[in-house]
Amino acid sequence: MILWRKNIVDNIKAYYKFILLIFVGMPVLAYSQKNFENAHTRAIYEFLYKTNPEQTEFIKSDLMYLDIGENVSKFYSRYEQVRDSIGDEGLRKSLSPFEINELRRGFARGTRPIYYNFQKKRKTTVTSNFSFLFTYYNESRQMPEWEIGDETKVILGYTCQKATANYLGREWIVFFTPEIPINQGPWKLWGLPGLIVQAMDADNFFNFTLKGFEQLKLPVPIIFIHKTYDGKEYEKKDKEKFQQMEKMYYSNREEFMSFFLGMKLISSATADGRKIERRAIPYIPLEPY
């Protein structure tokens, strides 16, 4: 009994050592990637979203970091960053996918795309992966044509003003604060005389709300992740192709795996042997196709 307990304690110790190693070892990952510059400010948003228009409430949530530098900002899921780091560390230790999944258990999933917004170049780069296909696209950064309204409200202690714009296929309603004179915001939203503190679409599918804001005291590099763990460069696509891939990935996974990855499905069954019927995975894109 005592021996059994000791084993459990040892396992827990090993687990925490492993997680600690990941966070200590995080900068190591950066060596093979490109460091744009250091961020001077970080805004943290809660991202609530639906995956099906019929849902009456938000069923998914994510924690998004907006790291802002002089020339570039990076908007990404903190949850996915942690999961990726655990995955990379597991691969480095040659653990099996099953073992890596066990280590990730309890760490929430996030959204996969990472948005790099280049202020001066007026360019956005979006990276993501669909199964083991890692890809990215570039697009020019258009400024939304904001209509600034009179309505105000206080969010996180900041007095915010309402603005609306039809942008990239959706009607966006945002609240920005002139108290933070940074013309950035979550996702691809920008161009107001103050940080966007809250953003919602008119369909009520998405909601970004600021939960934290800090001037960074220690340098936080804005790293452009453009290579996989095994050194393969992400594949460049045009935006249309990227969206086609995304659409197929969610609407017909089997076809996606066959068409883009050369993986033909042989069989898929539940634990009791029943065949799994392939169906579309509920998903609403931020930017409609």
């Binding site: 691969l91 996918p97 258990r105 199964s131 993986m263 499905l265 898929s268 539940t270 634990a271």
Partner: protein
């Protein structure tokens, strides 16, 4: 006539017009058992890297187990 056809096909293979259909392609079967008990098998045209296997496993976990 038959000889001519064989020479023609040979030339097409050499110039790369008939690669996949004529040359032997090695296939690998990969099966993934998720934590919620589903088993999914794929036929791959090449050996996958450790990282690629993890990415497939992860997407199946997300799809089948939530």
């Amino acid at each position: 006539m038959r000889k001519l056809m064989l020479i023609g096909v040979g030339l097409l293979i050499m110039t790369g017009f008939l690669p996949a259909k004529v040359m032997k392609v090695q296939h690998t079967v990969e099966c993934f058992i998720t934590t919620c008990g589903t088993t999914t098998c794929y036929d791959s045209e090449r050996d996958l890297t450790h990282r690629e296997l993890l990415n497939i496993y992860d997407s199946l976990e997300e799809e089948h187990c939530g």
